[in-house]
């Protein structure tokens, strides 16, 4: 059944256009999302790999 539905989509060239529009809308949302986010928050996130305490808390353990 579903196969018939798919096979009856005739205007095949529309696909690239639809794809592009979806992506474009997505991208606009993404930009809005990123540039309206809080600066302080971004800064904390940025520091994360440096503050993970990995190398500073060396305590030797018997294996």
């Amino acid at each position: 059944m579903y196969k018939n539905v798919l096979q009856n989509i005739d205007n095949i060239a529309i696909w690239p256009v639809v794809s592009f529009v979806i992506f474009f809308l997505f991208f606009l949302c993404l930009l809005w999302w990123v540039f309206t986010s809080d600066k302080k928050f971004i800064d904390t996130m940025k520091q994360m790999p440096l503050n993970d305490g990995g190398t500073k808390t060396f305590v030797k353990q018997p294996n």
Binding site: K3, L6, Q7, I9, I12, A13, W15, P16, V18, S19, F20, I22, F23, F26, F27, L30, L31, W33, V34, F35, T36, S37, D38, K40, F41, I42, D43, T44, M45, K46, Q47, M48, P49, L50, D52, G53, G54, T55, T57, F58, V59, K60, Q61, N63
Partner: protein, 714 residues
Amino acid sequence: MELEKFSYDNKVVKAFIIATVTFGLVGMSVGLLAAIQLFYPIFNFDLQYTTFGRIRPLHTNAIIFAFVGNAMFAGVYYSTQRLLKARMFSDALSWIHFWGWQLIILAAAITLPLGFTSGKEYAELEWPIDIAITLIWVVFAWNMIGTILTRRERHMYVAIWFYIATLVTVAVLHIVNSFEIPVTLFKSYSWYAGVQDALVQWWYGHNAVAFFLTTPFLGLMYYFLPKAANRPVYSYRLSIIHFWSLIFIYIWAGPHHLLYTSLPDWAQSLGVVFSIMLIAPSWGGMLNGLMTLRGAWDKVREEPVLKFMVVAVTAYGMATLEGPLLSLKNVNAIAHFTDWIIAHVHVGGLGWNGFLIFGILYWMVPRMWATKLYSTQLANIHFWLGTLGIIFYALPMYVSGVVQSLMWKEFSPEGFLVYKNFLETTVQVLPLHMLRAIGGGLYLIGAILMTYNLIKTAYAGSFIANEQAEAAPLAKAYSVTSGGWHHRLLEHKPILFTVLALVAILIGGIMEMVPTFLIKSNIPTISSVKPYTSLELHGRDIYIREGCVNCHSQMIRPFRSETERYGEYSKAGEYVYDHPFLWGSKRTGPDLHRLNGKYSNTWHYNHMLAPDAVSTGSIMPAYPWLFEQSIDKSLTSGKIRALRTVGVPYEDGYESQANDDLDKQAAEIVASLKADEIEVMPETEIVALIAYLQRLGKDIKAEKVASSELKTPN
């Protein structure tokens, strides 16, 4: 809040590191062997287990899944624990993951030389191993998601996002591409046929590059590069844009591997457009990485870890600029099927993956063993050997690709092909192949030096199996404060995030997959195209087993230079019974799609036994075992039934007479060989292979005869 004490599991990271280094050396050595075989065919050793067609998949699988795979797991386990301030969810799962993955590698290392292969590039492993991969991947995902859910850090750093996208997408890709119908324990046929199979395969192949070789390593870059440089990433905002646009766009670009093939035009165009768009996020990522080092270039000069990373990120930038260029149709027309693609892949593999892995290993090992790197100087030598290795690898391959392609296309003023004999064009580029092997050798020597250096480092230090840490647990109630709510919402809701990432890749995937369902209506059916006979089927399976597809294409593109050389260009409708498709991606030898009738059976017999004796100077390996081994006729009916299940219209009950058919066809070939005084048993594998080779392109000839005789429309 009360701090909780816990520890990071370094032990499993150590295990993955050892596996990375070991399989790195193995994979590179096998690659070097394959490279040498291409100019000294004697290194095929006349043995089926070491013949190029089986060694090449062994090399690619060892590098991708064993070397790069293990390195990914080592880096992901190391960084995830620290970024989430939690030990991995379950030690048991970590170890099942580790040993399961190594067993899969072992199984691959045994089955590929034995010739058990699905015939699909980078997905060669047969169905039981495919299932094992799925299960182990689920274990990995379970362990990761468990860790994420029990984390002590509210927000997920961008590296974790890349890991999640990797988990989800690799699962989807692997499952969709691995649909196959088993015939025996180690033999199956792809569920899809022809054009459809090709599209699924390259959707997979392309995105395996994206989500196995790229996204996890971008995550690692965003973690280890700031750590090594001791400064935060240049722009966190950019990294978010990088992430979403990359995973969203990448998934669409697969069809660029199939330009000028029998894939419908609009699908090809889709691939091109999205490939070009990919430049933006890729370069955003590269610049983000390089800009992180701004003001720290003095450090780069002294610290081998950073040197490796800088070259890695630069190579990433080069490869991701080159990729979209290669997807432009006019560039692709030159580059496809040539060594150019090999160069492109190795800029990514040796430069991006390899160098990033080396940098990370040089960074992690001294820290995990609480000591200093044994020798910075040795690491520097490694760096220069590796860099020279990449240059000596890539440059000759670029030249070789362009030179050979131009020779394929060169016409004399009278309008004839200048290099009518394909072999001439192959022989011309052999010196370049030798240089390439030297490049690969240098790179391997560098990796050996690193191995020594890391072992020495480990012995000098003492291993910290469990690294102590402390952090406050997550408060149960978390209220989103003002500003940036939308952002945080995502970051502290891993499930929502995972679903969104899945949706992003599924949109692309489905939009690309719909056409594969539609394709039946897109393929002009050619009535003269018939299923393979039972003997040809056996022959085709030998062709698959020996990996002929690694050197020969079966896809004639609609260029004058190709139709002149090979004959009529390939039509989609010719492949409808090809499970799997065998278009190939590299022409070390000529295309074989119009082989029917070009040579006699005797010619093929002699050529397969000693190619060099028939085509002087040929680098094609000899296949003496095909003249000793017999086909297994007891499998015939199973093969027919399996193919019928996936849609090949063998008549009901055909399996019971299939072997009689087989005997008849074999007898004809044996008789024709006998006329040339060659004695051969009808069950011998070479007979079946000859039957298959003579079938290639036969049906379309029948079509032409039929239509010119009858002059019927359609």
